[in-house]
Symmetry: C2
Subunit: 282 residues, 2 copies
Amino acid sequence: METRELRYFVAVAEELHFGRAAQRLGIAQPPLSRAIHQLERRLGASLLERTSRTVTLTEAGSVLLQEARAALDAVEAAERRTRRAALAATGRPGVVLATKAGASSELVAKLLDAYAAEPDAVTVDLLLCGIGEQERLLRDGRADVALLHLPFDSASGFDTEELRAEGQVVVLPAGHPLTGRTQVRMAEVTELPDLPLPRWPGPDGAYPEGPGPRARDHAQLLQLIALGRACWIAPESCRAQLSEDLAAVPVLDAPMVTTVIAWPPQSRSRAVAGLVRAATRH
Amino acid sequence: METRELRYFVAVAEELHFGRAAQRLGIAQPPLSRAIHQLERRLGASLLERTSRTVTLTEAGSVLLQEARAALDAVEAAERRTRRAALAATGRPGVVLATKAGASSELVAKLLDAYAAEPDAVTVDLLLCGIGEQERLLRDGRADVALLHLPFDSASGFDTEELRAEGQVVVLPAGHPLTGRTQVRMAEVTELPDLPLPRWPGPDGAYPEGPGPRARDHAQLLQLIALGRACWIAPESCRAQLSEDLAAVPVLDAPMVTTVIAWPPQSRSRAVAGLVRAATRH
DNA sequence: GGGCAGCGATACCTGGCGGGTATCGATCCC
DNA sequence: GGGATCGATACCCGCCAGGTATCGCTGCCC
């Protein structure tokens, strides 16, 4: 199988429409139809169920969709990492660290300082990203190493080293009745009718159904809380970033949040190894 | 990048010889030279250092070699898993479990029994393999799930669940002086001049340098021990498979051996999930 | 219910590129 | 210094990816 065929199939499987998929790929529809047919013939499997009005994935098709995405990420990673290696050999070497926008900057700062003290430290480029984006970046080679927050992110498929475990707090508008408490339980928070948890756009950009207001980023979220329209459950370390019109109360039975440093399996990069060493040495 | 280019590059990088690589690929040498040149031009990186007598990998080249192998495995896995999914939809569904030849059969038997009791259990095909082979099988889709033994195998890049941890024993010919002991230390074993540890062929088929006799498989190894030409350090559970002319003594300070069940990250196979459930329910 | 619009499949053509043979040029070795 | 070895170059050919035109089917709507 050639990556071209995989790219073609992914486009059709995602669009479920040959015309749009062809447009997205920058080719005409007939060659696309033919390519998919060839792919099906060679695999000896029907991937798509097409009536002349609608296209759906078969069981084998959805397996291939998932596997093809992973394979294409691996190919892209190969290309990017090779380019970066060539660049590092001639020009300035560097390593890309992916971290969540709005996550604790204190931990990152410490890590960067510790790494900078290493004898063979190279430039660290920070890549701030949205929720769940880091795994993709690590997989397709745009990042070399990432800070993940379990259980929000998934470290599945990466090598990891645990850096910190912390409890969570509920962030409330200053002056809210719960603010006086030294601790609360999850049930008390989720059942606040006046302060629902806000909704985040998923990986596809759509908001889940629900009562909460919508927030697109961190700043909007904090604004919503300050305005008394929402509350939020977040790792303890976010307290450092709260302004005066917000308050935080520990949530006793919220799941622990573990910060880990993650890197692609079998990474032989000296820079990644150095960062991990610096991070774990604390 | 197309997988064809990656395959070509891997062949040249492994052979370090355009002629042999071309032969291995079943094409002539000139098109191979040209393909590698094109790849280098498109990546904007020099991958191979060639004099007219010798070919060596550049820094970028060895990065690409590693990444390309992973990417090609992913592509192969996509192809195989799709084929299997199509087969499962029409014919008999099944799941492939990779396990070490010569490993504890008791644990495997228990696992298979427990899984067979699951409501939607499918056929489990066993794939017995040599040391370190399982990771490859899991990565390129020939296996769906595997039993690994840490720290001998590496579970890096897979999702795992721990099944058992055990100590190790030294296997000796019956009647050897140490046989009378209830336990020994590593130092006592490694410094037996008359009973060296045997050498295993590495992944490339070559034997490492050293004093020990060579063994190609399990049976040869046990034979060597029975003949008083070697001793061996192995997980406790191997005792069940020892014949009468062999004896085992616990090694106090040998590293613990952990048996884990491992599967490719984000596997959505119901069968794999069922096997893992059966394994962890113990 | 018939006409129309939308969509995938088919037919057919063209150009580029992957692959082959012949040969060159450099380097090492006897 | 001459031959052997090996990668690069030159040149040619055939196949296949991609384009255009068109068909056939199926909802949908007046």
